[in-house]
């Protein structure tokens, strides 16, 4: 299946230099080939770094120095003939050009031309996504969408209490926007597609390599690891993520929650993502976890009832929650979580109690890898993912320039 790796095409893929057919082939291969994905991440980082090349301004003195050198050359005869041809005209025009009123007019014209060119460039070349109306009258800015329209970088798409819209996310997926929502296209390029969800709800179906599609919310960033999820933001800026297929990572600064299919995770302003949990866990479990994550604790004692509830109610599948809690709790609380986690699923060889309690990164990763089979059925998921991707290839479009 992976006989023909795509590593040599990855820069061209990132720069949109491949034909649509070849780009689809690369994207499809990346989904199934871990080896090429590693190289893709490397190339993507290289591209992002190179995009940070700062502009260098030439020193103002450069022209004077250059003119002196030009004069030296000219007096040596190199420009003699050329200067002779031009001298009469230059003398005449220079004398006129340097009059103040001509200077002012020229400066105004150049400024107007520059601003005009800049405005024209910004309008013409802003990448955009196709938006289709599903219900009611969604708007882009102040303009209603009758049937189809385009959402450019920096523009807001808003729906009222009856309207819905569907966004084609470049060539990598679709996002449906539910009523009473407000979203902005922040960025779209081969290495990153990013929306901001200020309020409301969206459902995303993404068929692309991990970490290409992001949604910013007031309290966390959702990074798609493939395939489908809904994300809802309330008026206070808190959000709720529910994953229906694949994995999604929620991040705020150094706090990250990995959420697999069937699980959900809430976020709050200033706190970030809470602890992920499976939606089929008990009501008591979920309420206790919410208290643990988001309610203020005046003393360590106030956490105990909530933590006890979580530990008591936890099933083998809820090791997802317990594993995340290890790094979010301290001291005796962390020890309690370790004991319960070890009872539900003993740590693999090489993972020690002391190492885990000291948050040894390698040990935590090793234990997570051992637990993941109880959190999702990856082989079945991967098959479904590739099927969705392959089926979608025929109908997706690339990022197009706004007409």
């Amino acid at each position: 299946m992976f006989a023909k790796h795509v590593t040599k095409d990855l820069s061209a893929y990132c720069h949109g230099e491949l034909s649509p057919h070849d780009a689809s082939g690369v994207a499809e291969h990346l989904i199934g080939c871990p080896r090429c994905r590693v190289v893709f991440e490397e190339i993507k980082l290289g591209v992002k770094l190179a995009e940070r090349l700062p502009e260098k301004k030439a020193p103002d003195s450069l022209w004077q120095d250059l003119e002196a050198r030009l004069d030296a050359h000219a007096s040596a005869g190199e420009f003699a003939s050329a200067r002779k041809v031009a001298s009469d005209r230059s003398i005449r025009t220079t004398a006129r050009i340097w009059q103040p009123r001509f200077l002012a007019i020229a400066a105004t014209l150049i400024l107007a031309l520059g601003l005009g060119a800049f405005w024209f460039y910004k309008q013409e070349s802003r990448p955009s996504w196709e938006v289709a109306r599903l219900n009611g009258s969604p708007r882009i800015g102040s303009a209603r969408i009758n049937d189809k329209s385009r959402l450019a970088i920096g523009q807001w798409l808003e729906t009222d209490n009856v309207s819905r819209a569907k966004i084609q996310v470049g060539s990598i997926g679709q996002v449906e926007i539910d009523p009473n929502s407000r979203v902005k296209l922040v960025q779209t390029r081969p290495t990153e597609h990013r929306l901001e969800l200020a309020r409301g709800r969206l459902s995303a179906h993404i068929w692309a390599p991990p970490r290409l599609f992001f949604v910013d919310t007031p309290s966390a960033v959702a990074a798609d690891l493939g395939c489908a999820y809904t994300l809802e933001v309330d008026d206070e800026g808190g959000s709720l993520l529910r994953v229906t297929s694949g994995w999604v990572a929620l991040q705020l600064k150094n706090r990250e929650s990995m959420v697999p299919a069937g699980a959900a995770c809430a976020t709050r302003r200033e706190i970030g993502p809470g602890t992920p949990y499976f939606e089929d866990s008990s009501e008591n479990f979920r309420q206790a976890l919410s208290k643990l994550d988001f309610e203020p604790h005046d003393s360590d004692w106030s956490k105990i009832p909530a933590l006890n509830q979580v530990l008591m109610q936890a099933r083998p599948r809820d090791t997802l929650t317990l594993w995340h809690l290890l790094s979010r709790l301290e001291g005796a609380d962390r020890s309690l979580v370790y004991e319960r986690l070890a009872a539900l699923s003993p740590p693999p060889a090489g993972v020690t109690r002391d190492g885990v309690l000291q948050l040894d990164d390698e040990m935590l990763k090793a234990w997570k890898a051992a637990l993941e089979s109880t959190w999702s059925n990856d082989s079945g998921l991967r098959k479904a993912w590739i099927k969705i991707w392959t089926g979608a290839l025929g109908r997706v479009k690339g990022v197009e320039r706004e007409k």
Partner: protein
């Protein structure tokens, strides 16, 4: 930078180039103003951020441009012709400086690198300075396609035209350039990926 290109190029038309060929100093000034920042940027990244050296090379490029602009026949785009001049002058000047660099200077550069591993050497600098340094340290055959892509905003076909190679070679050299940047600046991954 691409914005700069778009704003400045419309001012340079065939007439301006013809006037330059006639030795018109004002036309040349116009051409200089349109391209000076991009030429200077290419030079800065080719000379390890040394602005003095870059200024000197930028002057050389424009001097060559003025003395040889009569050879421009309009068979290719003027910008392609200019880019070739920039790339060749930067590479020639690097070779010349390398030949004239004394043993002590070469040794000093190498020992600085050995005493301070990249992580430590870069840790106090700003992100843009890290990128500038890393770009400067690329081999010219990998650096030039990167600069033509990111400073000049050229397509693979245009880069291939300037460098006189195939599009496949451009893709391959950019791949190597990107990997090299990622390897040298791996410690900035979180800052770049999460900081956006």
């Amino acid at each position: 930078m691409e914005r700069l290109a778009v704003m400045s190029e419309p001012l340079i038309d065939e007439r301006v180039i013809k006037d330059c060929q006639q030795g018109d100093r004002e036309a040349f000034r116009l051409l200089f103003e349109a391209y000076k920042d991009r030429v200077f940027s290419m030079a800065v990244y080719s000379f390890h951020g040394d602005q003095t050296a870059a200024g000197d090379v930028t002057q050389q490029i424009f001097l060559k441009l003025m003395t040889s602009i009569n050879q421009f026949r309009g068979e290719s785009q003027f910008t392609t012709w200019l880019h070739r001049l920039v790339v060749n002058t930067c590479i020639d000047e690097q070779r010349r400086r390398k030949r004239h660099l004394g043993f002590g200077e070469t040794f000093a550069l190498h020992t600085t690198g050995q005493q301070n591993p990249p992580e430590r050497r870069y840790e106090r600098r700003e992100l843009s300075a890290f990128v500038t340094a890393a770009i400067s340290e690329l081999k010219p055959k990998f650096r030039m396609p990167v600069l033509l892509k990111y400073v000049e905003g050229l397509s693979y076909e245009e880069i291939a035209d300037v460098l006189g190679c195939s599009k496949g070679t451009v893709a391959s050299r950019l791949n190597r350039g990107h990997k090299e940047l990622a390897r040298r600046l791996a410690h900035l991954r979180d800052q770049v990926v999460l900081g956006e």
